[in-house]
Amino acid sequence: MGPFEYLWLTVFFFFILIAFVRGYHRELGATTLIFVALFLTTYFGVPKLPAIINQLYRETFHISLSQRTIEHIMASGLSVIFIAIIFASYAGDTFSFKGKPAKGFTGFLYNLLVGAMNGYLVAGALWYFQDYYRYPVTDFQILQLPLTTTGEHIANFLPPYVVPPIFWAVLVGVMLIFRVRK
């Protein structure tokens, strides 16, 4: 496999393409659910889930989980939950915003901005689940470490590292106010 960050860059560009195909007014609906997913995972999942999982396991099997096993469960579990929410935001009758989107160059720019934002949030969050739990995926030889210098630099700016968890809730609030305005 190539450098670790290439996979995440592909996801990032993929979301830009999706934004151009669907239009940014629909993508903003997906953005709302991405914010919800980020809030749930960073506010509740990351700080509280390890203790709950460990407690449940200890009470069931009377032994504690090793640190690395917890890291595997957390990284995979949070990624699955996150991907499930993102999938739900795109499947079936989707959540989108009222109104006509801008056209021409302005519309192009907004599609690009929203696509880049969604790409950064999704690719960044999935990368964060790996980075925070010391890259469990590398134990399966799926991807290689160490990160390149660029990769290490990008990893400092993954969404949950630079945005406080409560800020995701603020953004969800803002989105909902715009969604329900008359």
Binding site: R22, G23, Y24, H25, R26, L28, G29, T31, Y90, A91, G92, D93, T94, F95, S96, F97, K98, G99, K100, P101, A102, T106, Y110, L113, V114, M117, F157, P159, V162, V163, P164, F167, L171, V174, M175, F178
Partner: protein, 240 residues
């Protein structure tokens, strides 16, 4: 030789910009172009240190200083009436340690960004205005806008032409087009990197939350509401 080519390219670009803006002015009409003109002039004044630039930077720094004063105990001192020399001295000692949001080394970049920001806002506001019945006057003011923008931005171009087509064979043109595309992408990345560096210098860890918030607000606000038909609002909901 390359200097002459650069001059020629700059001259061609100068007339292309004027023609484009004149055409846009003809389509949009007088009022939209006048609004754009106002924003361009304000942007130019804000981006020039001798006119409004330095004042703008001072204003931002002083407003931040005032906010920091209130946050670091000033507001509490005013409310409680505990407004004595010791309290003030303590507050000022504390906030003097904080760096200004726009330090001297970033002042020029901040002025330039303020100018770009105002020009973009002018363009966006002008698109909201309805087309009027004075296309001729719109053409004139549009050309004037193009002229001012050329005067502002063309001197920023490099003295040497950054790229020339030398091999005019089919393969050569394809190869050089690829190189030109790579060159433009590299310059775009440089410009974005400079912008992000400026943002991180100014806002620190809050740069990304502020950026996300700005994108969300700008794009949501851009969704114009459709005309009501029989009491129901037009909605684009559903379907991926």
């Amino acid at each position: 030789m390359s200097g002459n080519t650069a001059d020629l390219q700059a001259n061609i670009l100068f007339w292309i910009i004027i023609a484009l803006f004149a055409w846009q002015g003809y389509q949009r009409g007088l009022w939209a172009e006048l609004v754009k003109f106002g924003f361009i002039i304000t942007g130019y004044l804000s981006g020039t240190p001798e006119y409004l630039g330095k004042t703008l930077v001072k204003l931002v720094n002083n407003i931040t200083f005032a906010i920091q004063f209130l946050i670091h105990g000033g507001a509490a001192a005013i409310i409680t009436g505990n407004f004595n020399a010791t309290t003030l001295n303590k507050i000022f000692t504390e906030i003097k340690r904080l760096p200004p949001p726009i330090p001297k080394e970033n002042a020029e970049m901040a002025m330039f960004l303020a100018m770009i920001f105002l020009i973009i806002i002018g363009y966006l506001v002008s698109t909201l205005l309805k087309k009027d019945k004075m296309p001729g006057m719109g053409l004139v003011v549009g050309a004037l806008n193009g002229y001012i923008l050329s005067v502002i931005f063309l001197p920023l171009l490099p003295d040497k032409p950054p790229f020339t087509f030398e091999d005019l064979s089919f393969e050569g043109i394809i190869k050089q087009l690829g190189e030109l595309f790579g060159y433009l992408i590299a310059r775009l990345i440089d410009a974005l990197a400079a912008l992000f560096n400026f943002m991180f210098d100014t806002f620190g860890a809050w740069a990304i939350p502020i950026l996300l918030f700005a994108i969300v607000i700008i794009t949501l606000a851009s969704l114009t509401r459709g005309k009501k038909k029989g009491g129901s609002q037009s909605s684009s909901g559903g379907g991926s």
